[in-house]
């Protein structure tokens, strides 16, 4: 026991020594490296997106993002699968929280539309200001989480979530293929007009892809939250009742 602690502390000490050298000798570059400089110089004429991070995520590194969304989908599917195979002991099924009070319930009913609106704003302005599909999806999932907290019985159906998830995933692939057909390659967003730099509807297909990613990520997070919230047993209980 204690020898193990000492061993771990020693190993981590070695790692810390390596980190120390990395950090102490670190000197920031004076200028951007060539890749970043290229991205900064060509944001306006290639993607039309003032937010370079969104431009990189959706256009220049779009394939990585597609892969990442797939990984997230696999995660949510595996979480649901892992939890579906085990049942709660008799009499212990049901939510882990006590029922909410009236004030929280009313507050949730008032806040949910606002959170959804803010999520839509974050998604739609992803190419102009901080935000984009991933952030907006997280905000939307936070709305779902608030609904679960205030009214544990208030759930969006798993079937609906799965449908939103698969339709937006399919749409993402189709937009990518449209880039292959009408522009220079897979996931090239320039097949739609770039529009006026800095306007809401501009930057080619970037807002469209943002919306699809936002819906997909939001649905995946919501699936994870609901799987952890209910599990299989409580749903069966409802069916029986």
């Amino acid at each position: 026991m204690s020898t193990r602690h000492i061993l771990i502390a020693g190993l981590l000490g070695l790692l810390g020594l390596a980190f120390w050298h990395l950090a102490a000798d670190y000197l920031p570059d004076a200028a951007l490296n060539p890749t970043a400089a290229y991205y900064a110089a060509h944001a306006a004429d290639q993607t039309g997106a003032p937010n370079l991070v969104t431009g990189i995520i959706i256009t220049w590194r779009g394939l990585d993002t597609l892969g990442e969304v797939t990984v997230l989908f696999l995660t949510s599917a595996i979480v649901a699968l892992v939890l579906a195979q085990s049942k709660a002991p008799a009499g212990a099924a049901g939510p882990g929280f006590l029922p909410a009070g009236e004030l929280l319930a009313t507050g949730t009913r008032m806040l949910l539309p606002l959170i959804a609106l803010f999520g839509a704003y974050v998604i739609a302005n992803g190419h102009l200001s901080p935000g984009g599909g991933f952030q907006g999806g997280a905000v939307l999932a936070s709305g779902v989480l608030l609904a679960l907290l205030a009214q544990p019985r208030m759930r969006i159906g798993h079937a609906l979530l799965a449908r939103v998830e698969s339709v937006s995933g399919l749409g993402y692939i189709l937009v990518g293929l449209a880039g292959l057909a009408f522009a220079s390659g897979f996931l090239d967003t320039a097949f739609l007009p770039l529009g006026r730099f800095g306007a809401l509807l501009s930057a080619g297909a970037i807002p469209l892809i943002s919306v699809l990613i936002g819906l997909k990520v939001g649905a995946e997070f919501a699936t994870i939250l609901q799987s952890l919230e209910e599990g299989e047993d409580a749903a069966q209980e409802e069916d029986a009742a």
Partner: protein, 118 residues
Amino acid sequence: MIALALFTGFALILLGLYGALTNRDLIRMIVAFTIADTGVNVVLVAVGYLPGRTAPILDAAVPVAEAAARVIDPVPQALVLTAIVIGLGVTALMLAYAWRLFRARGSLDISDFTELKW
């Protein structure tokens, strides 16, 4: 400021790893893991920062022509952005397995799972 952020990030990684390796409680191991995760993100963002420059978003404050001379490296930010999202997925997966183990064995203490002992 970069050095400060780097040291904080590295310290968070070490603290998180130490906690994940020495705790016996599954939930607290996962908590320590998320702390290490945050530390990695801090280090990556700090490496992308250049002193005296501003966020890689072009608007009235940063015209397009000056962009390459005024903004910081956007590539690590794009990387970290996706890393955070995946990090949540990984945490959810670990918690799902922890819960499954709890239902199978009625305990969250790893010393009760003898076949995993090292």
